[in-house]
């Protein structure tokens, strides 16, 4: 594929992630932190986020599986997840986490289980999207192009 076309496709795809509200400005700031001295920064952070999230989701699932749910424990996991998701700009996960914590406070197990389901969905959704994004970026880089700068205001 032609480089220009690939760059356009990458740009469109990135924009679509913002349009769909999957990512917020924080992700752009993350991209801005990446420069020559720190070329793989976004990738590193995001893969750390993936590792961290999967660990958290496992812990969370087993915590919610208990006969007697330890809501304090659950809350600390969700808090963690909220923090890391907002750090990378995965705002939909973050929003579900906020909702989740409301229900934790109410000790509403049913709603919590629903949130868990939802937060997993959002996570896998954003994960697959980000993986696609990185794949497109790799293609552009492999073709010798540079990653087009996304307007901070494109969402």
């Amino acid at each position: 594929m032609e480089l220009g076309l690939m760059q356009r496709r990458l740009e469109d795809y990135t924009k679509s992630l913002f349009m769909e509200g999957l990512l917020d400005a924080q992700f752009l700031q993350l991209q801005q932190l990446q420069d020559e001295s720190n070329p793989g920064f976004v990738g590193e952070v995001v893969s750390l986020f993936f590792d961290d999230s999967e660990k958290l989701l496992n812990e969370l699932t087993s915590a919610m599986d208990q006969q007697i749910v330890d809501f304090r424990k659950v809350d600390s996991y969700v808090h963690q997840f909220k923090g890391s998701s907002s750090s990378i700009g995965a705002q939909r996960i973050k929003n579900v986490c906020i909702l989740f914590r409301n229900y934790i406070e109410e000790q509403n197990i049913e709603a919590c289980l629903r949130c868990l389901q939802q937060v997993k969905q959002e996570y896998y959704h954003v994960k697959s999207k980000l993986e696609t994004l990185f794949r497109l970026e790799q293609q552009v880089l492999a073709a010798g192009g540079s990653i087009p700068a996304i307007e901070v205001t494109s969402f």
Partner: protein, 881 residues
């Protein structure tokens, strides 16, 4: 058991079914063996009525207590229920009356209605007949023997007729009382006919009379009706007509008696059946709600799974057809889920389980969200969509944003659905404003609306609100609300309106305006009833005004708590984005808004002002309009113009721009067109080269965030000062942070990495730690760190606690150090290491707590250059100098 009161009320209510009966009574069959218990239960003794019959008393003398108790009999038929008009017969034993006894026995043996001979009714002393019916304990076959019938008898129903009023009423209906004399005779005993009704004064004159037999449904009784003319020599024609009339009277009388007999029999039975049905219906209702709640929930959970999977499927490599299939499946799934949510809400409402949250939220951001939701649809339809929130509504409220959003979404959804031209306009005010402001009132004048289409008078939509008509405190029941904010929200549209005949039932669940609505527009018709309920939970009221083919305005009130004084982190994200918006780079700029329509100008100004931009409004760009603005004094950064003015202003705009340039050569304001639809008609105007720059377009519905985006896109590139500002802060940050040793503490690895990444970018030497305790030990003086960024919420030792301990250690260290080396007090000052909290929490109280426990400032977790610079420069700048 049916009570007397119930019976009386039921009989009263069904009286119209039994015309011309003056009362209904029910007597039960009581065997002598049951008498004692029966009397104890009823609280009275069974009275005999034969004495009463022998010496009829006058109305005033009648006293039931004085009646003699019934002598011992084999069985009794005491009246236990009676319609209020004949309640004096209660406790009388029908079997003790001569006539009644015959009738009762005959009625129960035959299973048919039985008429008494006419007699003077007790108490009223008027002539009447009683129609008696037996009530059986079970359904009997039509061929049951008299003995079987007697055995199955439960009681007797009696209908009391005043003959006189009966015939009079009938004659009145025929309007011929003046010309005809009517006599009704009971001729069962041929030799002694009993006169039941006689309207004539002289009975001797028997010529020219017409005699007809009356059939009242009782084969054993014979009735005759004699009719004759009052005048001696009637016209033959009249005679003929009159005889026809008489025939009609006869038939009617018979018919009425017949119909009445059948009806009376059903009275008691119906009453019992209805009580049972009511009980069953109530039970079924509860069961239905529970069922709905359970099933809806059970469907929703897997549906969410299905939707999630479909979403993921979308991200895989699909061809066009497959994508179309998946999209359709997803749309259907979403429709199903929203339907289920509605049903679930309804079920929750019916079982009283719906409760509201109380969290902080930004009303304006919530409304912007809803606006975005409908923007596609409104642009597609070319309907102007707008939200206006009064400045007096506080920024942060406490309440249930989700449910508030649900109400707004429902109302706006309906409006958009039924509006094909004009506008849909949401306004939010404080109730106080609306109550005492003329400003709002003038808006409803027909010409001055958002789109120029007329709308119904908005005031009418809340004319029925109780809180407006009475001088009561608006939320006396809500003690939890310390600082109540009473909002009034209107959703106004210029749609097709609600048909007058449907207006009374639009808040009823599952009822739509007409069956065709659900076919053309879909929906379950419970949205409005849910909204009404939710509004009620928010201590508000909902009402509307609607004129078919003009439009509808729905208005509701709701009580929220003022959010400025309370803490809590819920609702953070919205507040966060909004606060970023308001501290945006546009602060202090001035915009010139060109719009001849005041309502629309007010709406546009509201959104632009939210960005911190000062707005001047002019109706057009003619010299007269802008000359009053004193343009030389105010630098105009941008011009926002309604698209419709674009053509007209092509001549006046260059003059205006020249004027600006004369005053301030450097100023070239950016031009923006505010347009309603995506496919703008502006493209045809490409030839107007007089305009310096091709105008950018801002597509409605206007939202602060969206305006900011458009402004940045245009101004960010061209306005070099802005760019330089960003560069400066980045460069300055680099200067400040270069080579600084900074400790970053966060228990969240991802956050840690991001924070470290941000600081490293500016040349800082970053050390990462993931717990409060490690931070305490690392920052124990003496140490090499220049600053510390610390997360607040960490397990075991949180940021507040860690900071407190670090400050304690610093104090004791500088104390010791100070005692040992009193001369070198400069060192002691340096012991205070700057600690900045990292928190996404924008609540003021958290910030105060940060300062209280010894922190020096805070940065929001998502690091942003300007904010970082602002905070860091506070304590680093003094050190570098």
């Amino acid at each position: 058991m049916v009570l007397q009161r119930t019976f009386a009320r039921y009989a009263e209510r069904t009286a119209f079914e039994r015309p011309l009966t003056s009362g209904v009574a029910y007597a039960v069959r009581v065997l002598h063996s049951e008498r004692e218990q029966f009397e104890k239960h009823q609280g009275w003794t069974i009275k005999r009525m034969d004495i009463l019959e022998q010496k009829p008393v006058h109305k005033d003398d009648y006293e039931p207590e004085a009646l003699e108790p019934s002598p011992v009999q084999e069985e009794y038929a005491p009246v236990i229920f009676a319609q209020d008009t004949v309640s004096h017969v209660i406790s009388l034993d029908l079997l003790s009356g001569k006539e009644d006894r015959d009738n009762v026995l005959r009625a129960r043996a035959s299973g048919k209605g039985v008429l008494t001979a006419p007699f003077r009714l007790i108490k009223t002393n008027r002539l009447g007949v009683i129609l008696t019916f037996a009530v059986y304990k079970m359904d009997l076959p039509s061929n049951a023997t008299p003995n079987e019938r007697i055995q199955a008898t439960a009681g007797y129903i009696g209908g009391i007729f005043h003959i006189q009023s009966l015939v009079e009423k009938l004659l009145q209906q025929l309007a011929s009382k003046q010309t005809i004399d009517v006599t009704v005779l009971d001729t069962t005993n041929q030799s002694y006919p009993i006169s039941m009704y006689d309207s004539s004064s002289n009975t001797s004159d028997n010529d020219l009379s017409y005699v007809s037999m009356l059939n009242f449904g009782d084969p054993l009784r014979k009735h005759e009706m004699h009719c004759r003319f009052k005048e001696k020599a009637p016209w033959p024609l009249l005679e003929m007509a009159t005889s026809t009339g008489i025939l009609v009277i006869a038939l009617l009388l018979g018919h009425i008696f017949h119909a009445t007999m059948i009806r009376i029999a059903k009275v008691e039975d119906d009453c019992r059946k209805m009580m049972e049905l009511k009980k069953r219906a109530e039970a079924a209702d509860v069961a239905k709600s529970q069922f709905l709640a359970t099933v809806s929930h059970e469907i929703r959970t897997p549906m969410n799974g299905v939707l999630g999977m479909l979403q993921m499927l979308m991200d895989t490599d699909l061809d066009v057809t497959q994508q179309d299939y998946v999209r359709t499946a997803q749309e259907s799934g979403k429709a199903l889920v929203s339907l289920i949510n509605e049903v679930l809400d309804q079920a929750k409402i019916e079982s009283g389980k719906l409760e509201l949250e109380a969290v902080q939220f930004d009303l304006r951001a919530t409304l912007d969200d809803v606006l975005s939701l409908f923007s596609g649809k409104s642009q597609e339809k070319g309907v102007e969509l707008g939200v206006y929130v009064s400045d007096r509504v506080p920024k942060i409220l406490i309440g249930d944003p989700g449910r508030f959003r649900q109400i707004i979404t429902n109302l706006m959804g309906n409006s958009i659905k039924f509006t094909d031209r004009g506008h849909v306009f949401v306004t939010v005010h404080l109730i106080e404003e609306v109550m005492d402001s003329i400003d709002v009132e003038t808006e409803s004048s027909p010409q001055n609306t958002l789109s120029g289409f007329p709308v119904p008078k908005r005031r009418l939509s809340w004319s029925k609100f109780r809180s407006f008509s009475q001088e009561v405190p608006i939320c006396p029941s809500v003690s939890l609300i310390s600082d109540p904010i009473n909002l009034i929200v209107s959703v106004e549209d210029t749609g097709e309106g609600i048909p007058l005949e449907a207006q009374s039932r639009i808040f009823t669940p599952f009822v739509q305006v007409g069956p065709s609505i659900s076919r053309t527009h879909g929906g379950t018709g419970i949205g409005l009833s849910i909204s009404k309920y939710l509004v009620g939970l928010m201590n508000g009221e909902i009402g509307f005004v609607s004129i078919p083919q003009v439009g509808s305005t729905f208005t509701f009130t709701a009580v929220f708590n003022n959010g400025h004084s309370n803490l809590g982190e819920f609702g953070g994200p919205q507040i966060n984005t909004q606060s970023i918006l308001s501290t945006s780079e546009f602060h202090g700029m001035t915009a010139l808004l060109v719009d001849p329509r005041p309502v629309r100008a007010k709406l546009s100004r509201y959104h632009v002002q939210r960005l911190g931009i000062c707005v001047e409004v002019v109706p057009d760009l003619t010299y007269g309009s802008w000359s009053v603005l004193n343009c030389g004094m105010v630098k105009i950064d941008m011009i926002l113009m309604e698209e419709e003015l674009w053509d007209d202003s092509s001549s006046s705009l260059p003059i205006f721009l020249n004027h600006l340039r004369d005053n301030d050569p450097g100023a070239v304001p950016k031009l923006f067109l505010l347009t309603n639809s995506v496919s703008s008609s502006r493209t045809s105007n490409g030839t107007t080269t007089a305009i310096p720059s091709k105008p950018a377009v801002i597509t409605k519905p206007l939202r602060a965030s969206m305006i900011a985006t458009s402004l940045r896109r245009v101004m960010g590139f061209r306005n070099r000062t802005d760019l330089r500002n960003g560069e400066t802060s980045r460069l300055a940050l680099r200067n400040l942070l270069q080579g600084r040793k900074i400790l970053v503490v966060d228990d969240n690895d991802v956050n840690l990495k991001v924070a470290a990444g941000a600081l490293k970018k500016y040349g800082a030497d970053v050390v990462c730690e993931n717990s409060g305790s490690k931070a305490i030990s690392l920052l124990k003086p003496p140490h090499q760190f220049d600053a510390c960024f610390m997360d607040i919420q960490m397990p075991v030792i949180d940021g507040f606690e860690a900071t407190k301990r670090i400050r304690e250690a610093e104090r004791s260290f500088s104390g010791e150090y100070g005692r040992g080396n009193g001369s070198q007090d400069g060192k002691a000052v340096n012991c205070h290491v700057p600690i900045l909290a990292m928190t996404a929490d924008v609540i003021q109280a958290t910030h105060e707590e940060c300062i209280q426990c010894g922190m020096d400032g805070y940065v929001s977790k998502p690091f942003e250059a300007e904010q970082l610079y602002r905070e860091v420069s506070q304590f680093f700048a003094s050190q570098t100098n």
